[in-house]
Amino acid sequence: MTVPAATLLPLDAISFRLPSYISRGGYDAARRTLLSKKPGEVMEEVKRANLRGRGGAGFPAGSKWAFVPPEDGRPRYLCVNADEGEPGTFKDRAVMTRDPHLLLEGILIASYAVGVHTAFIYIRAEYEAVARRLETAVEEARAAGFLGLNVFGSGFDLDVLVHRGAGSYICGEETALLESIEGKKGWPRLRPPFPAAVGLFRAPTVINNVETIANVPLVFRDGAEAFASRGLPRDGGTRLFGVSGAVRKPGLYELPVGTPLRRIIDEWAGGPAEGQTIKAVCPGGLSAPFLTPDELDVAMDYESLARAGSMLGSAGIIDIGDRTPMIEVLRIVTRFYAHESCGQCTPCRIGTTWISKVVDRMAAGGGVGGDPALIRRLAEGMKGRTLCPMGDAAAFPVLSILAKFEKELLETVSK
């Protein structure tokens, strides 16, 4: 199967080692950029490419970099978010496993643009094998003069540290990630101040997702316009869509931003699993509101999904087949957020657990008629009220399941 849009992760067999990357023109974009462009020009080019964050919020990468205040004597840091804890998401693993130097080249360009001399890749500890591969790549790049002091003779220095998490979903939240790097519990920080002003070690900090940074070399290899033209007017490039759940061919598919969800499922993931029809789809990692089969023509971009009442998130598409009771889906969703709540703020700490207990009781046959309404009320009590976005993440899928599958849930209760 050919994927015309596979510009980020080529489908042909590639090696993760440096010679392979160099043979594919690797580090050329970074060399040209560091030797010929000013940091401000690099930011402008990324803005023109309409590269948006691939982590979930979709914030334009160039603008995010531009938030870092002018030089004030403090160091600046780049943190690449490789925590990838969002259930149904495995794209960053693929990028780092298959082409770690692509990420490093992106880090090099981004660091140059922002004035960063120490970059961190915060990777979840479960990705130990991937982390080792990254460390090997860092060593290769350093030996080749692509990292370290005076990169390409440009006078620019950069060190990259691979920093492992230790088992906590919330550390994918950007301020929890900073706390975690600083050697603390992953308790998100109260904002303001925002990380661009006061971030890692109290210094201005940019936090970008792996896929976002991995796209940066493409912007400079192919040009901002070419990059932008692969996507939508305000959302350049391709996306790595991960498809899992009740489909014939679960996998990672690189397609243009805005590809309709139904096409991804039917044409690329082979359609619903044997003997099943699709009952619900979570389009952007578990915290995205679920869609019903009649909503699958939605284009997979931030705005279209927002209009459809969901979100693109991490673009991890989870298909639920008709054999799976929604109470079971709800049980897994609510258990997950209760397990991962950091415990710092009230609505999330107690809301996630309370909802999970109600759902467990329902799933065990002890439900009562008021349970769906109670769950809805509790989820509303978390939505928009927590210290970090996790309250929303925990509430959205629950609210969508209640809204769209209430009848089925009520049947669970009455049985």
């Binding site: 906590s168 209760a338 950091c342 415990g343 009230t346 700490r349 009781r361 928009g384 009220r385």
Partner: protein, 498 residues
């Protein structure tokens, strides 16, 4: 340069506040108290309890009053249906797992959860699940007990120990719903400020064994005064019960808590001052006593009789020589007003030169509030021209016939044998003390006085700040303030005293 100010509107009322003021503090200027658990004015906003959410015009989500800084033109609403719903929801979350033990909880009556439930809750319970079981009697050290079922994880206690005492004995362990406040391994909260944890706990999670199950908060009478236990002069509230539920009109002091005083102690007091409750209640001089078999044994045991005898003694000593054969040992536990009267009577009018002081022995300062000076009014005494130094008893012997000693602290400054020897050589020694001490056995007459908590007056603290106070407690029957004794004495002697 004038400080920059911003104009904003809260619940339709316009106000101007200094730039940097938070919405919560701006609202307080209008008398609007926004409910909170984690916010405490001594600390940076924490933002974790989510109780103080308010509506800010133009913003889609509710925002924290505790951390949001007022901006020019900002319009804040603190009581819209959305805000009230959010408060109710936070309460419902916090109370879902909360034990229903208000009837036996010491915090009842001053508990934020209770207060807010009354104001913003009042919903039927929807919690059908099994509540989390947690440890209910975790000793934290000294008098503190932690009840984890009552804890709302506001982290005030943790932050107090990190930011104020910088001792860091407590942390929050685990995560999610299993998060719990706990001690570091092998330590306990042993610092001199432990009791503040009870005060700043907004619920009944940290309680004080000293106060536990003793009375109810609503029976307490608050009397604000200045702590007399060191030179700092912290503002304190002495909490006592008088009458019901005690029989008759018995008085019992239950608690000493800090009063807010930004100029001196902020929000805190030390444990030395706090746990002085027993010192107020116990070991008090209760009646006039005269030494058995002594010359004074014939003196009538009434205040009138004692005062007549005292005046007669002083007249005799004054008549016996110039300067009078009278020694006076004052104490920096006396108020400025009392010391002034003493100065007028003894120094100005009678010309006594043998004026000395017997203050509590100095101790270790703790670097925070507790000073090494353990008397509350040493600076006041100095300002009146006294040199608050202990007497040379050997020099007194033979030089005086009558010795007046104020306060029970003389034996902290001179050895007992030396005092006994000196007293034996003096015709009559009068002790004025609120507290019993070994000195009682040496004095010919002991007159029971009152503690500063039972007086009005002023102290001047180590920084030279003069602080007035009113009686925080009713004084015990049969005891008289030194100020009155001195004034009566002046009248009896016919000397001038204001």
């Amino acid at each position: 340069m004038a400080m920059a100010e911003v104009n904003l509107e809260i619940d339709g009322q316009a106000l101007r506040v200094p730039a940097g003021t938070t919405v919560l503090k701006a609202a307080e200027r209008l008398g609007i108290v926004i409910p909170r658990f984690c916010f405490h004015p001594a600390f940076e906003p924490e933002g974790s309890c989510r109780m103080c959410l308010v509506e800010i015009e133009g913003l889609p989500k509710l925002d924290l009053a505790c951390s949001t800084v007022a901006r020019e033109g900002m319009k804040v609403r603190t009581a819209t249906p959305r805000v009230l719903q959010a408060r109710r929801d936070v309460l419902e979350f916090l109370l879902a797992d909360h034990p229903l033990d208000c009837p036996i909880c010491d915090k009842a009556g001053e508990c934020f959860l209770q207060e807010y439930y009354g104001a913003h809750g009042r919903y039927p319970s929807a919690f059908l699940e099994v509540k989390e079981k947690r440890a209910k009697k975790v000793p934290l050290g000294k008098a503190l007990l932690l009840d984890r079922e009552r804890c709302v994880l506001c982290s005030r206690c943790v932050r107090f120990l990190r930011k104020v005492t910088k001792t860091g004995e407590l942390g929050i362990f685990e995560r999610g719903v299993r998060s719990e406040v706990g001690l570091d391994d092998g330590v306990e909260v042993g610092n001199n400020y432990s009791g503040n944890l009870v005060d700043i706990c907004p619920v009944g999670a940290i309680t004080d064994k000293d106060f536990r199950f003793k009375t109810r908060a609503w029976f307490l009478r608050n009397g604000r005064t200045v702590c007399p236990r060191c030179g700092r002069g912290c503002a304190i509230v002495v909490q006592s019960v008088c009458g019901y539920p005690l029989p008759g009109d018995l008085r019992k002091v239950y608690r000493i808590v800090p009063a807010e005083n930004p100029a001196v102690n902020g929000y805190w007091i030390c444990d030395r001052g706090r746990y002085a409750v027993r010192d107020i209640e116990e070991g008090r001089e209760e009646r006039i006593m005269v030494k058995a078999g002594g010359e004074a044994a014939a003196m009538p045991l009434t205040w009138d009789g004692a005062m007549k005898a005292l005046a007669a003694d002083i007249r005799g000593a004054a008549a016996a020589g110039r300067p009078p054969r009278l020694g006076v040992v004052l104490t920096s536990l006396l108020t400025n007003e009392e010391l002034e009267t003493a100065r007028q009577v003894f120094v100005e009018s009678l010309g006594v030169t043998a004026v000395h002081f017997a203050d509590p022995a100095p101790g270790e300062a703790d670097g925070l509030l507790l000073t090494s000076d353990r008397a509350p009014n040493r600076r006041g005494a100095e300002a009146l021209g006294f040199a608050p130094r202990p007497p040379d008893l050997a020099a007194l012997t033979g030089a005086v016939d009558v010795l007046l000693v104020f306060g029970p602290h003389l034996l902290e400054r001179v050895p007992l044998e030396e005092a006994a020897r000196a007293f034996a050589g003096i015709r009559r020694t009068w002790l004025f003390s609120a507290r019993r001490s070994p000195l009682d056995g040496l004095a010919d007459v002991v007159l029971p006085t009152v503690l500063s908590e039972e007086k009005a007056g002023s102290f001047t603290n180590v920084d030279g700040l003069r602080q007035r106070f009113e009686p925080a407690l009713r004084r015990p029957q049969g005891c008289r303030p030194e100020g009155r004794i001195l004034a009566d004495l002046a009248a009896a002697l016919g000397v001038k005293a204001d």
